[in-house]
Symmetry: C2
Subunit: 313 residues, 2 copies
């Protein structure tokens, strides 16, 4: 197979041995693979792959056709259209995935959408519902809402009957984010004056979080899953205590296979139907050939995009 390979902080397109399907794995001929902030961080050496995953092939999500299956696989057969979550190695022409970390791609969903679905949807779904336990009628703030996770989080929160405030730096993207279901789209500076928010989904990090904390409701929950703007900040514990704030910091990548399997089963049951019916979509701003991952990463880093950048084979 060929794969995007990180070597000394640069991306290369190199030949690598084909993966073999382990007992519970399927091997997928990749048709599309989403780019995530984690890939860029990994390229810079800041976010190494967890043990058990290819150390130098980036890519946390992909979609394609099953080409072979391990002996214990029961849910998929060669030729099936699947989308999968991996701890690395998704940006290659072939990728091995645990069958419990894969879901069938609904009819009518394009390869780029399917290839950009798993990481952002699993992340947004877990943050909003698994951790913050967002429920109907609550007010939720999504910061950095125009990004991949943000676009899905806005839609999922709106589907759940919450009132969504989306914070988006780029004015040119405000209308598009509103169309995803946000009741209001504001600039980051306006966050402090809004709320109070029952739930804050923090996708931006240190530059954004202090404002969000000031607008947090009593018993509010904050889920921190993105720190692109920085990770270090000063907090005032007394103000958190007064608000009885709950702060959840999280990543998906380092979780055990069993934890991921249980999250993906929930995703299949509760979110994929909305994708199949067109009530949820994965906005794709641009696609790039797999072998030109460098350009895709550049486009990702440039910002000002709505939703996902996806590599296609």
């Amino acid at each position: 197979m060929h794969a995007v390979v990180i070597d000394a902080g640069k991306l290369h397109w190199r030949e690598r041995p084909d993966p073999c399907a382990g007992d519970h794995e399927i091997v997928v001929a990749v048709r599309a693979a989403g780019v995530n902030g984690a890939d860029l961080a990994q390229r810079e050496g800041r976010y190494p792959a967890p043990p058990g995953w290819p150390p130098d092939i980036p890519g946390l999500e992909m979609a394609g056709e099953v080409v072979s299956t391990g002996e214990a696989v029961t849910r998929f057969a060669p030729g099936d259209r699947v989308m999968g979550l991996v701890g690395g190695g998704g940006q290659a022409t072939l990728a091995a995935v645990d069958e419990a970390h894969a879901l069938a791609v609904p009819d009518g969903v394009s390869w780029p959408e399917a290839g950009g679905f798993m990481e952002v949807c699993a992340t947004a779904f877990d943050a909003l519902f698994g951790q913050a336990r967002l429920t109907v009628g609550e007010r939720v703030l999504v910061t950095g809402a125009a990004g991949g996770v943000g676009c899905v989080a806005v839609q999922l929160a709106a589907l759940a009957g919450a009132r969504v405030t989306a914070s988006v730096r780029d004015r040119a993207l405000h209308d598009a984010v509103a169309e995803l279901g946000a009741a209001e789209v504001i600039e980051p500076e306006a966050v402090t004056d809004g709320g109070p928010y029952d739930v804050v989904l923090e996708l931006v990090g240190a530059a954004s979080l202090p404002c969000a904390l000031r607008a947090l409701a009593t018993r509010g929950r904050v889920v921190v899953i993105g720190v692109g703007s920085g990770a270090r900040l000063e907090v005032d514990l007394l103000s958190l205590m007064t608000r009885r704030a709950r702060v959840f910091a999280s990543t998906l990548r380092g979780r055990s296979r069993a934890e991921k399997a249980s999250l993906i089963a929930a995703l299949g049951a509760r979110v994929v139907p909305a994708l199949a019916e067109g009530r949820l979509r994965v906005p794709v701003t641009g696609t790039f050939p797999l072998r030109d991952a460098g350009s895709a990463y550049e486009r990702f880093a440039a910002g000002g995009k709505l939703g996902k950048i996806v590599l296609v084979a």
Copy 2:
């Protein structure tokens, strides 16, 4: 009645009108009232009483005999020995308490123990079980474990089958804290090298929390309820994300009457039996006459105590 009254940052012993029992309230002739850090903060103007409570009479917990009852009161009658949680006003010869915020004092429990029970036990119980959901076999770190909340938290966590590490600055108190059920008692500097802790109960604040966070287990929970050493600190969100940390900041005092009632009902059902049977105790380091609250606060501020300072009538 007479009451401890805060006036211009000082404590006075003054006459005040007797309280009347509201429909759901009992009036209690106070026999003992615990001193808490919140009282000292209130004296310094840093922690005003929440709306609906005496603004200038400190005291969050007390015990005594019921002298009168409101029309709707069903659980208590004059003469009953009760201990109560109040949002303020506990340090007086009479105090009005919602009957849902009071519990019967078990036979054999002394007035000072009963007077120092409610605030620290409700705080420790809520933090460990309501928030952190501590469970059998987990490792828990209690910082500032020799204090009022700490002494009870160590015992409750041990009763729940957790393995308790207590962090105590004063070496002279280590043996006494170990006798409360701590598997190990360490100095604050040793916290970083211990763990990993599934649950951290942070009772000290900014000076202690960074070390505790470094020793936190994956998916660890941190409950911050004391900030005596300071409230502002720099945190690294990325390190919290990697650990998938959950941080709960909390206070009891500002909660609604309904929330307090439900917490106190749980306390009555799950913790008071241990108090009655002698499996839980409220260590009382010293008692002072109510009218000499100033000396009690001085003793509290001096530190180096095990458990509670209690005012007695």
